[in-house]
């Protein structure tokens, strides 16, 4: 079926994606390179290079704000707050 070619990133709406501010912070010193953040992210915003996780620089434009990377990180290297009020993902059919 065509769904296999679905681009999930096109199925997300946002407002003022440039005004969210930084809402994910990452402490490289605490990261043990386990890569669990790369598994749980819907849009592949995390990668592991040379034993350390890396967050996509444009994450504010792509992140779904689910916070799974914060919840799964066993060393608490990832912290998650929310985008500034009134900005970011808007869910119309939730």
């Amino acid at each position: 079926m065509e769904e296999m070619k679905l681009d999930f990133t096109k199925l997300v709406k946002r407002v003022d994606a440039d005004k969210t501010g930084d809402f994910i912070s990452y402490d490289e010193g605490k990261c043990n390179g386990c890569g669990l953040c790369t598994m749980v992210c819907s849009f592949n915003l995390w990668s592991v290079k040379e034993g350390k996780a890396r967050l996509a620089p444009r994450y504010q434009e792509l992140c779904l704000e689910c916070a799974a990377c914060w919840e799964i990180c066993p060393t608490e290297a990832i912290d998650f707050s929310y985008p500034a009020g009134g900005t970011g993902v808007v869910i119309e059919y939730g």
Binding site: M4, L6, C34, M39, C41, A68, G85, V90, G94
Partner: protein, 497 residues
């Protein structure tokens, strides 16, 4: 400096209902929403079941007219085998015999959050609470270990006698006050893919029903709205996670029966969402000095099917009532607010969590083990072949032979589930009401030679003497319409009296 009786963080269902209740009790109340309007940031399955008619009848009545509503009068179960073939479809409805539980039949509704959340927030505003949207609350104000208010993202301090944290699974309030950090294994991630569809064709093909897809390897719930539906599936965020959330959803799209349904109702993918959902054996501590947690922030969703919106409203109401009670006594310390936990444990919400460990263990040991799941689907199929319709309509030339073959398959499969039954199903026997155990025993009694001559009470006393596992149910002092107390049941399973 701003000072309120109650500050509610979050205008989802729990926050709005807490704000409504607090305002109705005469408390000066403000509630905050980070979205541009309530519902802007929320996704969930969002089916509201019959207990809403019992607890929130006016709301249920009013919701019926909102645009996205589809009634739920049946749940349709689709079993799909490891080759993606649909093998069995059946439906459950409310029983007419349970009129006291289901005065409206199995009459629930599905509704999008963009309809539900603003409606509930509006009730709070009408009751006199002030709503501030597009405002992120990012910190708590602590004094001597007690929460004294909150701070917005702009650093603005808002003081309160009691803060009610309704800020969802990743509760910033719970974290900043030091109550907890990560859930640590008890939280699920729920990806959801929404589809638009033709509402008239949905009426014809889907009807007023929720659908569930149980596959050997993948599955999803399907919540049906007026002009669309979404599929989703939760999975616990644990270190053995080995799959991308989008891939889990895509697997369900490969079921031919799912594709056929999409064609029949002109379904087109419309929106992708993901959210965290706590699915816990037991909610952790839900109060601290000056603050109460409600809804997902408290970990209240149902441990069996992860419904959470009724739980949010129910806990929101109890939290606001407890806040009013504490403020009137002039004591909002941790010790005073422990009253909140006493109250929700004594409510239907507490009853919901009575079998939390058993339910979570059961799920966790079934759906995440593909080999077991494949065999379980086989077992369910063989069971399904034994009911009268299967035997009649199997169109074999020897119906009784056919029946016996299925019976044999079942007898072959059953021993493979012995461990599973002992470990995960037997603990649920604690929930069988003692009066029903007695009825079963008394219905067997006439068929037992010699014993059938005994008076009922003597017979039951004898059974209690002979069987350590039945004895607790036959104790005359035990509540006849309640599960056995956990410690009594566990003692009897260990073979002790």
């Amino acid at each position: 400096m701003e000072k309120w009786d109650v500050v509610v963080v979050g205008a989802g269902p729990g926050g709005s209902y807490a704000a409504k209740t607090a305002a109705e009790l005469g408390l000066k109340t403000v509630f905050f929403e980070r979205g541009r309007r309530p519902g802007d940031k929320n996704s969930s399955g969002c089916g509201l079941g019959q207990r809403w008619w019992r607890d929130f009848p006016e709301i249920m009545e009013a919701l019926q007219g909102l645009p996205s509503v589809r009634k739920v009068e049946m749940v349709v179960i689709n079993l799909v085998d490891e080759n993606n073939r649909l093998r069995y479809r059946c439906g459950t409805t409310g029983s007419d015999l349970c009129a006291n539980r289901w005065p409206h039949g199995m009459d629930g509704i599905s509704i999008y959050r963009r309809d539900l959340d603003p409606f509930l927030a509006d009730l709070a505003v009408k009751a006199g609470a002030e709503l501030r949207t597009s405002t992120l609350v990012s910190d708590v104000i602590m004094e001597n270990g007690q929460v004294k208010g909150v701070r917005t993202e702009k650093g603005e301090p808002i003081h309160a006698e009691v803060v009610i944290a309704a800020d969802g699974a990743m509760s910033t309030m719970a974290r900043k006050s030091g109550m907890r950090n990560r859930w640590g294994g008890g939280c699920t991630l729920v990806p959801q893919l929404d589809f638009s569809a033709d509402p008239d064709k949905m009426d014809d093909v889907i009807g007023n029903a929720e659908w569930v897809w149980f596959g050997a390897l993948y599955g999803a719930y399907q919540v049906n709205f007026r002009d669309g539906f979404h599929i989703g599936a939760g999975q616990w965020l644990r270190e053995d996670w080995d799959e991308r959330p989008t891939d889990m959803v895509k697997k369900v799209l490969q079921f031919p029966a799912f594709q056929a349904m999409c064609r029949a109702i002109d379904a087109k993918p419309r929106e992708y969402q993901a959210h965290l959902l706590p699915w816990l054996k037991k909610p952790p501590k839900t109060y601290t000095g000056g603050m109460l947690l409600v809804g997902d922030a408290a970990g209240f969703p149902c441990p069996l099917e992860a419904e959470g919106i009724w739980h949010a409203l129910t806990s929101g109401k109890i939290a606001a009532e407890t806040a009013a009670w504490a403020i009137s006594r002039g004591d909002t310390s941790e010790r005073a607010l422990a009253e909140y936990e006493r109250r929700w444990k004594a409510s239907p919400l507490g009853k919901e969590h009575e079998f939390g460990p058993e339910f979570v263990d059961l799920w966790n040991s079934t759906i995440f083990d593909p080999k077991l799941m494949a065999r379980q689907i086989q077992l369910l199929l063989e069971f399904s072949m034994l009911h009268p319709f299967s035997v009649v309509f199997d169109w074999g030339d020897a119906h009784i032979d056919c029946f016996n073959q299925h019976l044999e398959h079942l007898l072959d499969l059953a021993p493979q589930f012995a461990d599973f039954g002992r470990t995960y199903l037997a603990p649920l026997a604690r929930g069988i009401w003692p009066k029903n155990v007695k009825r079963i025993l008394l219905s067997v009694k006439p068929r037992i030679p010699v014993l059938n001559k005994l008076p009922d009470n003597t017979f039951l006393r004898l059974v209690a003497k002979l069987s350590k596992s039945l004895a607790p149910y036959l104790d005359p002092t035990v509540d006849q319409e309640a599960p056995l107390p956990r410690e009594v049941f566990e003692r009897s399973r260990a073979g002790k009296r």
